[in-house]
Amino acid sequence: MFSRKRPGLAIVFFAIAATANLCSAQSTSQTIATVAPKVVKIFGAGGSKNLYAYGSGFLVSPQGHIVTVWSHILDSDTVSVVLHDGRRFEGKVIGAEPPLDLAVLKIEAEGLPFFDMGMATSAGPGTRVLGFSNAFKVATGDEPVSVIHGVIAAKTTLAARRGAFDAPYAGPVYVIDAVTNNAGAAGGVLTTWDGRLIGMIGKELRNAQTNTWLNYVMPISELQETVGQIISGRFSSTKRDDDGNENSIRTRPRRYDAADFGIITIPDVVARTPAYIDRVLPGSLAEAAGLQPNDLILFVRDDLVQSCQMLKEELGRLESGDQLKLVVRRDDQLMTVTIAVPKKTVE
């Protein structure tokens, strides 16, 4: 979802943020003092209009492994990394995964403050968060990076459709009510109020049609495995195929999804979005089975489906040749339909 820069919206979110308690000022400054040194300023290629030559990153090892976004800043031969204490190092890109918009740098240093990615957490909508980044290159030398506060507005999936809505990253994201994604902020971190790592701030993202900007953050859980592989040297990058889809970077197989049956659910925007059918594709198996828009899917086989996410997981487990039994609620009635799972070419 997009946070339109309108006063009305700002007031809504302001009200939410304001209900959170204010008594934690002391611990907030402690959190900031702990987190900010783990965030670094990165200077590299760019410098022309709208191609800023600065960015952010965060340390994930005491030996100087730095996670950041994959961007033009890293195109130069040398990338300058400036630590919280003002020390400047030459950063080397040791690995990148463009589909995740992820790059890992290494500087030659030791004993640095860092985030343990294994200790990263996840959070739901309504969680108060802090964003740390070198937005607008405000901080130089040993000046601490900027911190802003906000609330997770949604946890959703960012689709990267070419043309209509091209995003540098496709996958699960947190959407933040504050303007976390500014020039130079990509590669910064989102943390909980007590400083636990939640995600990496993404690039600036604008919808050309509505002229709105999206402030999204990539969950650490999406990046962690790849970062680990890059650091241990076991990683080989996947590339986008011709359709712009990524080639299986997920561990869990998702053999089928709702679209395979001609079912389009409503947008999955909150933690437990009920699995309502938004549209049924003409000529599809679902249409043949009599499913209609506004049907609420309650059971897949005999498993209760509480959300779009769970529906996705259940459908992902299907095998070719299975019988898919769905229980849906239409108005006040429960209906059961059965669809034969079609054959699918294995990729």
């Binding site: 939410i16 937005a135 601490p144 911190v147 802003i148 506060h149």
Partner: protein, 588 residues
Amino acid sequence: MKCSAGLPVLIVAFSMMSSGVSVAAEPEVLRAQQVRTEVVRQAAPAVVAIFSQDGNGGGSGVLISPDGYALSNFHVTSACGDFMKCGLNDGVLYDAVIVGIDPTGDVALIKMLGRTDFPFAPLGDSDAVMAGDWTYAMGNPFLLATDFQPTVTFGMVSGAHRYQYPSGTFLEYTDCIQVDTSINPGNSGGPLFNAKGELIGINGRIAVEKRGRVNVGAGYAISINQIRHFMDQLRGGHIVDHATLGATVRTGADRTVLVDSILESSDAFRRGLRDDDEIISFAGRPIGSVNQFKNILGIYPKGWSLPLVYRREGQKHQIFVELPPLHRKTELALPSGPKGPQPPRPNGRGPRSPEKQPATGAELPEEKLPDEYKKLLVKKAGYANYYFNQQEQERVLKGLLPFSAWQGIAGKWTLGGRTVDGDSFQIKLLPQALTSQFTKRAPGLQKLDGTDFVDEPPGSGGLLAALYQFKLLLTEGATAFNETYYDGSHPLDGRGPTVDVLVTKNSTIECHWYFRTNDGLLVGFDSSLGTDVDASEVRFLQYTEFQGRHFPNRFSVRYGDTDYGTFDLLTIDVSASENSTQVSPSSQ
């Protein structure tokens, strides 16, 4: 990505809020809310909505004294003219006049008229501000408040001691406070309060890139501690100037800050600073980067003396450096604000909200300015409003009242006594010449027949000329000088008590007279024989009465890095005519 998803989330947000009303909130939350509303209630009356005289343009401001002094941005007041209209949250529109401006720091001081009991904001300590502190910004963003009830936004300090590069000619934001508190066009000049409701800054700038002139999570406030340094100069109606070191600095190896090229005419050079010296601390703050140095330099007015510690060949040295002005006077004396790119200028037309063009201007009453207010503006080159300089001169000159017995005693003065190091002296201030005789020191002669003033006695920096200026001040007052003005206040010699500065000029001699701010006592003066040379620094250490006439009976004289001497005055022989009378101190 589904754009339609925005609506459901909003609905969820609203329903969360409404369900919160029916359910009892936690007491802690309610208490925090109560504290906030109380802070807002107390702070709001001091917040000013500023418009031009004809109701166009506008911005925000904040009252800082009951007699109506209010702070705003230079870029707000420069668009409004010398007289402006100011609305408070009581719904009343007041007249206001420009007092002083700081085009470099983007600060303006105005005076609201018509009351002596204005509500005002207490000043906080912006150096105590830390990232994570809560702040309130108040003002008139998008000029929404037609009833002058300020808009309140609430947010967090994102960074302290930030440096923002100059935009255009002036407007360098140094040592400023960065907030994620929503600051928008129209907020300019308005207050940033800390959680206690104390004024910690003046909101003036927002990060503007490709998203239009609206808040994008980074706003900047000029720190109130910086403004404090300039406050008395602003009250003196000046177009104030910032300072330079007279040298540029660069980053050396290992994050050191080195002197790059130093002007030989600068005080820093005369105090011994040279190229490639490593600057360790400045104004008591350690220096770790060029930005830090600029941050510190940027918060001080020209003419201040500040301690500077530098290292050369492993040796540390501390000096006090008097800061030269950043600009030439003509550079700042522009009639209508800076040229070139401007920071967000409040015009009520947010680029994304064309449907909200406030018609505030049309609603302002057409009113002629009362004649009594017109005399509150005196235009003079180099000043925003010389009227206020006159007021401050009058105030400071009251420090000469104890010397009133000297008025008109313009004849021959003979001062006799000893120096602390055992020399004896006789100094004669005659209408046609000035002389000094010592047992040990070299004698001095300064003719008063139109020849140039020189360093007599040698090595004193022109003590004879200095004492002659003092005589003029006591006998004739400010009228004895070609030019007199009030020049704000600063700590004496960079470390002493705060003093009001009165500047006088006579032929080539410029004197700075120092009146202690807490009691108005004249504690000394500097007398310079020209520009870019060290002054003869006379400091009055003790006063007594010589036959009912108040006079310093102990004073020290310093020139450059050398103490010339400390003088104990035992007798003053004064003869207005041919008959001279020898007077001795009535008390010691």
